[in-house]
Subunit: 336 residues, 2 copies
């Protein structure tokens, strides 16, 4: 899946920022890929981009309109269909991460056919993958893993890409979820592929590259999450990381949406190494990323210090304190 840039962000008439989380994430990380936003009357979200209609955005060079919003129930509101068709009329492809496939809407499918536009339903990929091969590929890979779902794996990977680039390193974010795909313009919603092809899709996502180039792979789920561990393991095997960062949130007691207790950081480190060495015998942890939002600054600092000491690895909160300690340690470990 490769999206043409720049983007027009369609916000529809969603009630608030939460419903436009995907669009706001794109602006956070790729402001310069966005020519504008298109809001319908009553929209309660604001990505702080120039307001544009489809025609204005196309005139300004927009190549893809991103439907970066969700409405209650995950459905596509009827009155958005005309906006989507208008965008195709104006010359743009469409990309969306709705649960409902846009291409299953007859008016949208007909317009795409008639106008020769692409419609990317990021969550429901039609892309065919091969099964994983398990063969070591040239290049270096960094994967973010977690003690749970929704714990900062995407943010940490994007922050590492930015931090490594600022250091002059060759780093490329590799997206495995819908928001990540919009942010990188390429990728695969790995939890949406057929089970047989999880590691194969991860291999497609992280192909052979220059030996000193780093692919920074967005992790998914957790090896300890009873709903999604299979996805996490296929992604680990397929992306064959040389290095990984453990993402953690210290105040959770059970994992997201299940009664299963949280694993420890050490358990995640040990299991990631035990399983990851199947496809990369040299896999090693290079740091810990902690979401300390629930702690005050003193408690956060203390937790990070203790966590670092206990594991012999740098620990930071990427949002609050940046990822420099992690980049430093990675550079030292791999002589970069």
């Amino acid at each position: 899946m490769e999206l043409k840039r720049p983007y027009l962000l369609f916000l529809g008439d969603v009630p608030d920022a939460l419903a436009a989380k995907t669009a706001l994430g794109i602006v956070d990380w790729r402001r310069d890929w966005c020519v504008g936003q298109w809001r319908l009357p009553g929209c309660g979200a604001d990505a702080k981009l120039p307001e544009m209609t489809a025609a204005e955005a196309a005139a300004a060079g927009a190549k893809t309109m991103i439907v970066g919003v969700v409405n209650a129930g995950g459905k596509l509101p009827e009155h958005w269909v005309q906006s989507i068709v208008d965008a195709m009329e104006a010359g743009m492809d469409i990309a969306a991460g709705l649960h409902k496939r846009l291409i299953d809407v007859p008016e949208i499918a007909a317009a795409a056919e008639r106008l020769g536009r692409e419609v990317f339903d990021v969550r429901r990929t039609a892309q065919a993958f091969e099964t994983g091969k398990g063969v070591k590929r040239p290049g270096k890979r960094l994967l973010t893993v977690g003690t749970d779902c929704s714990i900062g794996k995407k943010y940490t990977a994007l922050a590492m890409e930015a931090g490594m680039r600022a250091r002059g390193l060759d780093a490329t974010f590799c997206a495995t979820g819908q928001t990540g795909v919009f942010i990188s313009g390429r990728g695969v919603a790995i939890d949406a592929v057929i089970a047989d092809f999880i590691s194969g899709a991860a291999e497609w996502l992280t192909p052979a590259t220059e030996e000193n180039a780093w692919q920074v792979v967005e992790g998914q789920g957790s090896l300890f999450h009873p709903s999604f561990a299979g996805v996490s393991l296929g992604l680990l095997h397929g992306s064959q990381p040389d290095a990984f960062i453990v993402c953690h949130e210290p105040t959770r007691t059970t994992m997201r949406n299940v009664p299963t207790p949280m694993p420890t950081i050490q358990q995640v480190i040990d299991m990631t190494v035990a399983l990851g060495r199947l496809t990369n015998p040299d896999i090693r942890p290079v740091g810990i990323a902690v979401n300390t939002a629930a702690l005050d600054e003193i408690a956060a600092g203390k937790f990070l210090e203790e966590t670092a000491a206990a594991h012999g690895l740098p620990a930071t909160d990427p949002v609050r304190f940046g990822v420099d300690p992690l980049v430093d340690h990675l550079a030292a470990e791999f002589s970069l």
Copy 2:
């Protein structure tokens, strides 16, 4: 997926027994569910069932015609389409495990619609599952796991079901692959579900049951296979086995279709326990099933004896020597 019985087995005009492997497997394990076979001129396979046309089979009570064959390339030969429509005309549902979906063939879809018949494409399930919950359910579960793919997991599970029933135990085979689904009349091709739902599909397959009833779950892949470990892990978490049997083949050096070396039996035991205890803290190995076909009888006996001694578990070749030692040990471990 629940198939109505009894079956008519459609063998088409495949050249040999290998192409009819699925149909022959059904006859091996469920002879009394099969009223007959339907062969077209030139067929080189023989399931040793009464020869019947669709109309004759329907008159004999057949409720589902199983397309239990594969032709070269996995495609559906054009001249089979009429036979499939004839079977629906005669009153039967259709079930197939071809890579090509029968329901995507317009003539077949139209006949199913017109006649109100079900068409089950076992490898391409349209069934929606929930995500796994990870909550312990009443009942007992036995899973077959492997050092590799295609190493006897289905055969061992079916032999255990038969052996346990012969002992008066309440045992039910739970199918996770296409042949298994035909043999049990129910199940899910677990490698064909969307990655997010692997463990959820396994939970659906092995629901809460009587505390002394055993669900004997057909394993898939291997935790050490770089193509399919994610499937194996989701199945392990979702089926939350109390007991597992390791299936092994002693002469393989690399895993199926990849250059990855085979793991040891001990590695598989340790990793299965380490990962499986997430959803069942009491998980334990109860035996080892070895495919000794490549060894002569003396070498086979010696290998089994050494393997049993090395792991403190019974070891047998289910095909050559039966599964009594495994049933004995299971019964002792769980006071059955």
